[in-house]
Assembly symmetry: D3
Homo-oligomer: 167 residues x 6
Amino acid sequence: MATLSKRRKPLAKPSHIRPDGSLMMVDVGPKATTERFAHARALVRMSAESEVALRKATLAKGDAFAAAQIAGIMAAKQTAQLIPLTHPLALSKVSVEFTWVAAGLLQIDATAQTSAQTGVEMEAMTAVAIAALTMYDMTKALERGIAIESLRLIEKRGGKSGRWRAS
Amino acid sequence: MATLSKRRKPLAKPSHIRPDGSLMMVDVGPKATTERFAHARALVRMSAESEVALRKATLAKGDAFAAAQIAGIMAAKQTAQLIPLTHPLALSKVSVEFTWVAAGLLQIDATAQTSAQTGVEMEAMTAVAIAALTMYDMTKALERGIAIESLRLIEKRGGKSGRWRAS
Amino acid sequence: MATLSKRRKPLAKPSHIRPDGSLMMVDVGPKATTERFAHARALVRMSAESEVALRKATLAKGDAFAAAQIAGIMAAKQTAQLIPLTHPLALSKVSVEFTWVAAGLLQIDATAQTSAQTGVEMEAMTAVAIAALTMYDMTKALERGIAIESLRLIEKRGGKSGRWRAS
Amino acid sequence: MATLSKRRKPLAKPSHIRPDGSLMMVDVGPKATTERFAHARALVRMSAESEVALRKATLAKGDAFAAAQIAGIMAAKQTAQLIPLTHPLALSKVSVEFTWVAAGLLQIDATAQTSAQTGVEMEAMTAVAIAALTMYDMTKALERGIAIESLRLIEKRGGKSGRWRAS
Amino acid sequence: MATLSKRRKPLAKPSHIRPDGSLMMVDVGPKATTERFAHARALVRMSAESEVALRKATLAKGDAFAAAQIAGIMAAKQTAQLIPLTHPLALSKVSVEFTWVAAGLLQIDATAQTSAQTGVEMEAMTAVAIAALTMYDMTKALERGIAIESLRLIEKRGGKSGRWRAS
Amino acid sequence: MATLSKRRKPLAKPSHIRPDGSLMMVDVGPKATTERFAHARALVRMSAESEVALRKATLAKGDAFAAAQIAGIMAAKQTAQLIPLTHPLALSKVSVEFTWVAAGLLQIDATAQTSAQTGVEMEAMTAVAIAALTMYDMTKALERGIAIESLRLIEKRGGKSGRWRAS
């Protein structure tokens, strides 16, 4: 069965890599301009005790979360300078949100959207990665072993391949 | 017993947050200049089939890995522009390395070092995060669900708190 | 009377702030693309003696003003990296001009324009601010107390709210 | 008397400008490394009504102020990329603070410090300017005519010229 | 003869310079959006011995060339931040290629393309310049006197002036 | 003879390249901090007619040259963000100068200096390259075929290898 399906669908190839193994920036000129959306998520795992200390420290004001949110948004706008073969994009919106989903488990959701000839997955992934690193920077004095778990794409829409959702 | 130890060691507090919840950049002026080292690691999980396609595409040349390595090194040098409350640092070395540790499991190790008044954990974490995102950018056409797992600090040396290693 | 006017026009709200006080980047996707223009102005106040020294030093060539002009133009192009919740914009023109309007009083005018889904006020404001800071940098050896006065928007055109001029 | 004092102290000259009017970056190599400190201040003038709306919007969380604070700190770290003839500096601390000093009058104070061969006035001035512009960006929907007044240096310490305070 | 030709074609003027000698950013707003393409080339001259050492060092992997290629592509995306009076552009493609054209003579070709109101010559020139400097950085230990020769535009297409090719 | 000299001096190897062909950033931590200086030069070749037009356009003010000078200085400060494997450096001085050395032949000289553990060749090379590209940007309307010739290092001082001068 696997063999059959492979015969019909040729093996996918990595982006940005030519047959000889050298790199290239994909030409997005011929692609259609469509609405693009991407949603990425990171989970930051800390001890329940660190969560308490962080919540307590930021009780009066939400500044720690504001810092991580802003860092994520600003990084999304710099994606083309950070990820070598991405295209510069004029994003129409970036969002970064925080939710405690279990004791000591902070979920960070980032979305990016625009109307463009190429997708915004890397913008959402970059936003969530830098927001998570900023949270790490502010909590590492509590517990150096805090880990970012499962940074990944949740959904993307737009372009020739249309909608995709993580299973 | 826990109570006793708590009495001696006051509860740790997040960095960069004042008692009123507002943010601040820590003053590193009074800190001693010592040799600083940090090692961070990310695991990128893909299907065994994607690993084969990636290895095959880059067989002739190592360009895909070179791109991710360079992106990580360049990002480490920009850490102070990405993570809001970090201090600018003149890094003396950054390294980024790749190892296949299991079928479809790519380990990325980054180290940062310098002689400074503050640590280089965020530089190593940023290098490994951007290297992992660059690998994602080059493999997402193979499999959009490739996930970064367990981005975390492995070791740090230098400064008042000395050496720390992940358990 | 105040009560009546309040009933008709609901109280304006700050941009970028949600009802719960957290931040957001406004979604400009649904907005119409129109011609956008903004004009901002700063006044730099120095002693008449400093004006003489500055004019004399730059008599042979206009380099000091060229430096401030270029710094302002380059900063306008970086607005999205400096002001956290602004959108990246492909500016079609930026100008920065200098006029001595009174003894020791240097007026700096900056304009920005493009065709976009959002306004260019922040680009003009950023251009004039960085041009003024660059003039300060070049004159502070003459007189450290030189002050930037009244950095503000003079006019903006385009978008749903149309034209606005400072009274 | 004035004539006498002029004879003893030759007329001050602008920094960065050669006798022929062309520009230069001052060579700070021969200067002593000393503790450097600078404090700059901006006043942002809005209507009392706008102050109420801003305070109300940010009551739940201090995010609007956190955004302006972070923007100011990040800009200070980029001063050498914004102001053409400044030297790159590894800042040991930057602070940005907000105080309502009268109805509708928001005072922003920024300080910068480090141990270096050149002063940090431009870093403090840049921090306060970008923090003020960010506040403008968040309040301009309330009142486009909000003005930054009196952006200036309050104090600097360190270097050959020692301490200076605004009168 | 020269006189005649001058009568028909008025003397060309430098871009970005006003009649009074001051600078300006050209307003591209009124220009038509057309397909833009530019191709620039640099020649890097080294001894035949250095070529052998470089080829030998990079035999196993093409990383040195990948580094120069990526540096060139990333620099092209930053052109508006490097060349003062250029306009920000969302490039649809950038390429950087290497060819040994004679013993010790490395040719670097860069192209840039997009659909825009202004040309992409500076993007191609910047890509090739930074790629060449990166090759120099990696070979200077072999031979400090390696020189970049003849960095120039080869071809440009699009815009009112249409196609141009170096003779 | 050649054999003898080779026995004493092992064949030089490119920097930044490991025996397996992969890249690395050199660890400058163990190197001595010494005074570093580098001087690079570019020649920009245009027709004598273009030189006349450029000189005439900039007669009133030296702004075109000021723009190229500032672009070069600002780029030198960004070298670590442009050339992948270079180390961030706090430059104490950068200079960029212009001389007409023959009809239509503009010489651009850039120097960089600081006290550091690594050399400043790439900073001087980057300054001169970006200054030359900026001159090209301002003169390309006169003559698209203007070429940068012979961008190379003229001299460097400091470090273990000491002084080197181009022959």
